[in-house]
């Protein structure tokens, strides 16, 4: 760690000192990687081939957990379908809405700071608090949202209590917390060179043409970034659907209670919730590890896509 002030030594000694220095700086993460990533990941693979309930010692049962989860566990495919639904719809809506809002914010000239802050604030609301608030606001009986919608003659769906509307309600909640994407898109939009717009305007290009041929190509890396990180976030979607399901079903809180996950009718059940259900409600650690690995493979597939397509996510500085 003190390379600069040491007297000159052989090249080998210097290299050794540099390696030691690097190891010292990297050590927190090296330990963290081994203990909190590599070991539990290998262990998850190991337990996925074991029958284990946390009490009796684990015993090898081959591919039984895998075939049970994929063919018999009644919650797996509904959860997979919901997760894919949320990945497709929530990501598409969030990217479109975030981009639209970013555009709007760059056009607002009066009190722009106030608008930006107001648009951004919901992103900060803790997920449990935001979800509770939305379950109340959207409750079909007396909720303010349906009161307002009804007053102006719009349909008043059952939201979190109707299996057809629970995922759209979650989508609304995800759109409410759009602040992060808005800021990212806003920064990207402000980086588009002004001259390009001026030149296009001289050529008589309309607003749509300018958006299509100047704005979009310039911000496409950010759009891709938003899509891929959005996909990964949606695959991890846990707190909001879980809390929404429990609260809308009227589950009494507290520890260790059993509840049917995914209310109403499994419509808010996601893959991460299933890990909890299999592991901590049914004490079937083997199956929980199978679901965890499915989730892992999906996430890694998208991460690989992110690194390959972008190249730049970790590329600069090399």
């Amino acid at each position: 760690m003190t390379t600069g002030i040491l007297p000159p030594r052989g090249a080998a000694a210097r290299r050794r000192a540099a390696a030691l220095r690097t190891a010292a700086f990297m050590s927190p993460w090296l330990i963290g990687f081994a203990v909190f990533f590599a070991y539990p990941l290998l262990s998850t693979v190991y337990f996925s081939f074991m029958k284990y309930d946390g009490f009796r010692p684990p015993s090898f049962n081959g591919l039984d957990n895998w075939s049970y989860v994929l063919t018999q566990y009644p919650l797996f495919w509904p959860a997979m379908r919901n997760t894919l639904w949320l990945v497709v719809v929530v990501v598409a809506c969030r990217v479109a809405f975030g981009l639209g809002l970013g555009l709007l914010v760059t056009k607002i000239k009066t009190a722009s700071g106030v608008f930006r802050t107001l648009f951004y604030l919901p992103y900060l609301a803790p997920p449990v608090a935001a979800t509770l608030a939305f379950v109340f606001l959207l409750n079909p009986g007396t909720g303010p949202a349906n009161t307002v919608l009804g007053a102006v003659g719009l349909p008043t769906p059952g939201w979190f209590t109707d299996p057809d509307w629970s995922k759209p309600a979650l989508t609304a909640l995800a759109l409410w917390g759009i602040g992060d994407l808005m800021v990212i898109f806003m920064a990207a939009l402000l980086d588009v060179p002004k001259e390009q717009y001026e030149a296009a305007e001289l050529d008589g290009a309309g607003a749509w043409t300018r958006f299509r041929h100047i704005t979009l190509p310039n911000i496409s890396p950010i759009v891709l970034f938003a899509v891929v990180t959005g996909v990964i976030q949606s695959m991890q979607y846990y707190t909001q659907p879980l809390v929404a399901g429990k609260v809308a079903a009227g589950v009494i809180g507290g520890s260790g209670q059993q509840f049917e996950p995914g209310y109403p009718e499994k419509s808010t059940l996601t893959l991460p919730q299933l890990v909890y259900n299999a592991g901590f409600q049914r004490f079937d650690y083997g199956s929980a590890c199978v679901i965890a690995l499915v989730l892992f493979l999906l996430s890694m597939a998208f991460t690989a896509l992110l690194m390959r397509r972008r190249g730049g996510l970790i590329g600069s500085g090399d």
């Binding site: 803790p126 938003a226 965890a292």
Partner: protein, 280 residues
């Protein structure tokens, strides 16, 4: 011609700002209804009324004095405060090495950091739970959530590295020529320049801990003395399940600190969000 463009500009202004107001309503009205319900009487909160007939400020006092509420606050502050401190201290040197040292395996390390960043916490929760609960007997406490933060957090490392890349190498070389070792270069030269990046990482980590539900649910749920606000809030709803006014007051009390913190640290926070997406 001139008046034509002026009229067009005025129209454009009106269109943009009306859209802005409409969007603002979507973002703000939930907060407004939330707050209005939190000061209603328990009976009125069960009606379709939007405006409180009487302002029951006492609801807040009632929530505040709910057994456990202050414990949840203390636990959340401990988790978020200690967690943030440990994360920053352990992630800065790693990010510095990844940004400024040349060594074999750097690219691989970086890819592994990104992989860890993308990993859903549920993927490794079974072995981690068995490790903390069965081997170390620490379930019912927040230590299984706090201790790992002493070993670097992938997202913080990544974000800090992106920030440190923007510091020109010349500053570091100058410090080294002056006889500073790497540790002193980091502490004396890099840290002061990296303050905005560190502030952003610290804020993110604080919010992540503050908002965490899954971690406390796994490790702390069996012991109400270790619950955090996020976890406690949900159980509060369960225990008061028809008292929407009290639940909404509790919700406001959980949201308020983060929003207050935001107003104090707005700049660092927005810069941090931008950094995640734009740099690199």
């Amino acid at each position: 011609m001139a008046s034509g463009t002026t009229a067009k500009k005025a129209l454009h202004w009106v269109a943009v700002h009306s859209l802005g107001v409409a969007a603002a309503l979507f973002f703000v009205l939930p907060f407004v209804f939330l707050f209005l319900t939190s000061v209603m009487s328990d009976q009125q909160a069960l009606t379709r009324d939007l405006w409180p007939r009487t302002w029951e400020w006492d609801n807040y006092a009632q929530v505040w004095h709910t057994p456990g509420f202050l414990t949840w606050w203390r636990n959340t502050l401990l988790y978020a405060g200690l967690g943030t401190l440990l994360t920053v201290c352990s992630s800065v040197p790693v990010a510095y090495a990844l940004a400024k040292f040349r060594f074999r395996g750097r690219r691989l390390s970086l890819m592994l950091v990104v992989a860890m960043m993308m990993l859903p916490p549920q993927v490794v929760v079974i072995p981690m739970y068995l490790f903390w609960a069965k081997q170390l007997g620490l379930s019912g406490t927040l230590w299984p959530l706090i201790v790992p933060m002493a070993f670097g957090d992938a997202f913080s490392i990544f974000l800090l590295r992106q920030f440190l890349l923007t510091i020109p190498d010349e500053y570091l070389d100058a410090a080294r020529v002056d006889g500073c070792g790497e540790l002193r270069t980091l502490l004396r030269v890099v840290l002061p320049m990296a303050k905005p990046g560190i502030a952003a990482v610290a804020l993110f980590q604080f919010f992540t801990c503050w908002n965490d539900y899954f971690g406390p649910q796994i490790y702390a749920s069996e012991n109400p003395g270790a619950w955090t606000l996020s976890y406690g809030l949900e159980s509060f709803k369960g225990a008061h399940h028809t008292d929407w006014n009290l639940t909404m007051a509790a919700t406001v009390l959980v949201m308020a600190p983060v929003i207050v913190l935001f107003f104090f640290a707005q700049k660092a926070f927005v810069e941090g969000v931008t950094l995640t997406g734009v740099k690199g």
